[in-house]
Structure formats: C-alpha cells, structure tokens
C-alpha cells in the first residue's frame, strides 16, 4: 500500500468499537454530534447539510440536503424518515458491514436527519438476508431507548423520535425509494410515477425521506466538524469518502474507504493489492451488475457523482475482470438477475429482460443468428429508452458495454 490516503469517516472506528455496546461507541465521541445538533435549530442543521454538498450513497448521487429541504418545507402533521438498508446489488456489501461494525453510527445519523426534516417516526428498511445486522441494529435501538437517546424526549430535548427496524421481503427494486414505500404499505414493490416525489408524498402519503445508510453515517461527521471541513474532502461537487467493494481478480478483495475522486487504478493497486498474480487485467466494472466498464484507458478517470462523469459510480461495487472471463456466461448471469428482479410493472423491462435472456442463452450455446443480434439491439434500445425506472436502463447497459468494447466476437457486425 503505497499512498493510501488515510482519511476515514465511515470505517474510522471499525474493529475498535464493540458493535454491541452503546458505551463503546460513546467513548469514540459517539452521539456528541447529536447532542450538538439538538442545541441548534433544525433549520440550522438542514442548512449545514445543504452546505456540505453531501450526495446520496445509494447510487444516484442526488444531493442529500436538497432532498431533505423538500420534505422539511412541506407542512404536514406527520413526516417519516427511512434509512435504506435493502442493499441487494450483487457484489455490494458495504451497508451490511457498516451495520455489523458500527450500528450506532447509522442510528445517530438517522436521528439527526429526522430532527433536521422534522420527522417523528423513522424506520430502518433492512435486507432480510442480513440476520446479524438485524440483531445488532435492534440491540443498538434498544440501548438507545434505554439511555433516552430515543423516545419521547431525545437526550432531554423537546424532540421526539421512534425508530424501528422494518424487514423487507427479498426484492431488489425495493432499494428504489418509491418501490420501498410501496412495499412498506404492503403493496407490490413497483416504483411510483413521479412527481409527486417520495420526499413530498411518500409513506401513507406523508412526506418521507429515504436515505441510504452510508449517506446517514456521514451526518455525525458533518455536524461535529462542520460542513466547510467536509466539503473540502474528496472531489469538487462530490465531497466526502465512499465505501468501495472490490472483488474479482485482485490480490486483496474487500471493502475499502477512499475519498471521492479516487481513480480505479488507485483502488486496484493502492488499496486492493493490485491485479492477481498470473492474471491479465482486462477491465473493471464499476457500479455493480450493469455498470460501466473501465478498461486500461479509463483507469485514471476520477470516480465521482454527477452527470459529467464517464463512469457512473453507482453503489460502489468494483469487479475486476481478467482476460479469461467467459463473457457469454457472465451476460447470461446478469440477464437472469434482471429478469428475476424485474418488478413487471412496465412491458419493456418485463418482456425485454425475458427475451434478452433467451437470446443470450442461445449465444452461450453457440446458436446465435444474425436476427438474434438485431433483436437484441432492439431490446436494448427499448430497455434504455422506454423503461419506467432506472432498472431497465441498467439491464441494457452491461450488454451495451460488451458490444461497445467488442468483447464477444458474435456481436461484431457481420457482412452478409
């Protein structure tokens, strides 16, 4: 590890804190940010988060402060706050590790967030596979209630908040905020038409803010050390650090925290120990299934949020692939995933993923025709241009990247 940058926010105390003990978190200045926040007006906290430029860590990178403001401005008898821990992107496990290593950081961030927007009920929407995280989070909440950090009077203030864990039921699309809200209402987890946005009209039609838990884990740091400090970390427009899950053909796969603006090359060589011995680097896929490709030419591209980036960062999964990878098999696996997880609301996604899977299976079995290629391109077009939500666009993206970089011989235009 040559020049590993040592600034850590999320993983700072991992391993030092006993995730089962509130006291242990407190010894590392835990809940100090909450104490500081409660002494100020909620509007001040909101402005602080807006000033920090924090972006959502779930994938889209929307400005957290802007989302909060929409909910805070709404005049409503009741507001909800939901911490999104439905993480189900293959190759991404950052939120699970966050909850397993420092559950109180999520809880503290969530309390401050709820205070800033004026929510009195909050939930942690949890992936049902994460049994250990569930146990630790429930324990953390129980301790917080006992110590009067939650309940009628949060730390002796006039602010009242209740948090409970809501276990999902195994659906990828629930990570999308409007689908998540539908599932909490006991409906099919299909995304809703927007506007109205969830932060204006969400759970039970009350304003509801849904934030990824990694986003929330940044809040105590921002409150304690100030937005000005925070916005100078990382990249312009994408401040702070990000958790990356690096897997595939690297020497030390794992979870690493790096400042935003880090390059894929740095992540592979300075953090993950470089490409595995005896393997030939081909490319890294950024952002999970359906993510963009970073071949050697794009390895020095900074990883940031925003529209102008060539490599959408997504939720932070990085899969390093070597030249031996079986593309046909991998594409079938991707498409099986998209077909299985498609919610079925819109036709392009429901039928498109199904048909694309059939075509890719034929490709895998060596029975791929000229017409299949034409059809696949049409399906990709339809998925990309006409799907109801981003899920369909992702389903198309991976295959499109394989075509763009001409990784499969059969995809090359053939002369008749």
């Amino acid at each position: 590890m040559k020049k590993q940058k040592s600034i850590k926010i999320i993983t700072k105390y991992w391993g030092e804190i006993d995730p089962n003990s509130l006291e242990s978190y407190r010894r590392k200045s835990g809940y100090e940010a909450l104490r500081k926040a409660l002494r100020q007006d909620s509007e001040v906290i909101l402005q602080e988060i807006i000033k920090s430029g924090l972006r959502g860590r779930g994938g889209a990178g929307f400005l957290t402060g802007a989302k909060w403001q929409l909910a805070a401005e709404k005049n409503s008898s009741k507001k909800y706050f939901i911490a999104n821990l439905n993480e189900s992107e293959p190759g991404v496990f950052k939120d699970r590790l966050l909850a397993e290593n420092n559950p109180h950081q999520i809880v503290e961030g969530l309390i401050i967030a709820a205070y800033a927007v004026g929510a009195t009920r909050a939930f942690i929407y949890l992936n049902p596979c994460y049994k250990k995280a569930k146990m630790l989070l429930e324990n953390a909440l129980r301790e917080a209630y006992e110590k009067k950090i939650l309940g009628k009077s949060v730390m002796g203030s006039f602010f009242e908040l209740e948090i409970e864990v809501f276990e999902g039921a195994g659906s990828y699309v629930c990570g999308e905020e409007s689908a998540l809200v539908n599932s909490m209402e006991g409906r099919r987890a299909e995304p809703r038409k927007r506007p109205p946005f969830v932060c204006e009209q969400g759970l039970e039609n009350f304003p509801t803010v849904v934030n990824n838990v990694e986003t929330l884990a940044n809040i105590p740091e921002i409150i304690l050390n100030g937005a000005d400090n925070y916005r100078h970390l990382g990249a312009i427009d994408s401040p702070g650090t990000k958790l990356f899950c690096i897997d595939g053909s690297v020497e030390s796969p794992g979870l690493y925290e790096a400042l935003l603006g880090v390059t894929t090359r740095e992540l592979i060589y300075d953090y993950a120990g470089g490409v595995q011995r005896g393997k030939d680097f081909l490319l890294a896929q950024i952002g999970g299934v359906g993510g963009f490709f970073a071949p050697t030419g794009l390895l020095d591209e900074p990883l940031v949020y925003g529209r102008n980036t060539k490599l959408a960062l997504g939720s932070g999964g990085i899969l390093v692939l070597d030249k031996m990878v079986d593309w046909k098999k991998l594409m079938v696996s991707w498409m099986r995933f998209f077909q299985r997880e498609s919610c079925g609301k819109c036709v392009p996604c429901r039928e498109g993923t199904f048909r694309a899977l059939a075509i890719l299976r034929r490709l895998e079995q060596g029975d791929f025709s000229e017409d299949d290629l034409k059809d696949l391109k049409k399906i990709i077009w339809a998925l990309e241009k006409t799907s109801f939500c981003a899920f369909g666009r992702f389903a198309a993206n991976g295959i499109k990247e394989v075509m763009r970089y001409e990784l499969v011989q059969d995809f090359k235009e053939r002369l008749i």
């Binding site: 999902g168 039921a169 209402e185 595939g248 919610c343």
Partner: protein, 147 residues
C-alpha cells in the same frame, strides 16, 4: 402458529401487511387462499390485494413448499467464482433441475445475492448460509442434510 394467532399480534394498518404475510408464509409454509381471506378480512382489503402483494416477494410463498430449499447465489461475483458449477453438481446429485417443483422434499433455486460476495460461491440450505461452496464441497454438505 396459525394465521389467526399471528393476526392477533398486529394492528390492522397497512404497514403491518407485509410483516403479517411474511410471518404466515414462514409459519405455515405458504400463504394459502384461506389464510389470504383471513388476512384480507382483518385488514379490510380484498383477497386480490393480499395475494398481489404476497406473490411479489421472493421471501413469501403462495404454494406449498418442499421441506428443504437450496438457494444458490447467482450474483455476478459468485458466478465468476464458480457458482454455476456448484449448481450443476447439486442438480446432478439430486437428479433434478433448478426450479423443478416435482420433488416434495427438495427444491433448488437461484437467488440474486446474499451480500457475502467475498466468500462466494454462497449456498443457503434451509436457514443457514454457507460460504466457499465449491463444487467439490457441496456434495458432502448435502449428504449431511439428506441422511
């Protein structure tokens, strides 16, 4: 626990619908039409509303399930680590394909991701998730369950 008993633990607000159908599915093995009717009546919904939610989620079943369900992770990371080969071994050993429903004792499913990618290929048998289940390990593991 019967559906009736489960309902006693929840107030009839929509936010409790998913927890209820999950618990019924877990306790009784699946959400039957009779159970769906009871739930619908309690929540003041129609049977269609209850079943439309129940049929959506992979954790909720609406058909009788085999005693043992083997879930093989099909996420890209596990796939690269060889989960397909593990799945093949399981299929050969049990003499049935992934998704087959003719065997009342065992069913094999592909699932999306357990979030344990570093230690893949991951396989869940019953309630337990096992990691690093390469093709050579899976048969011994299964024998322990089937005998």
């Amino acid at each position: 626990m019967t559906t009736q008993n489960i309902l006693l633990h929840y107030s009839p607000q929509r936010r409790n619908l998913l927890p209820v159908i999950k618990e019924v599915s877990r306790e009784e093995g699946f959400v039957s039409e009779t159970a769906a009717d009871l739930i619908a009546k309690y929540f003041n919904l129609t049977r269609a509303e209850v079943l439309s939610a129940a049929t959506f989620y992979s954790e909720v079943k609406t058909k009788k399930q085999p005693e043992l369900i083997i879930k093989v992770c099909d996420g890209a990371n596990c796939n690269l680590k060889g989960s397909e080969e593990t799945l093949r071994q399981i299929e050969l050993f049990l003499g049935q394909k992934e998704g087959d429903e003719h065997n009342a004792l065992v069913k094999i499913e592909r699932v999306s991701c357990f979030g344990q990618c570093l230690s893949g290929p991951n396989v869940q048998i019953g309630e337990t998730i096992y990691d690093k289940i390469f093709p050579d390990r899976v048969i011994d593991l299964l024998r322990g369950y089937l005998e």
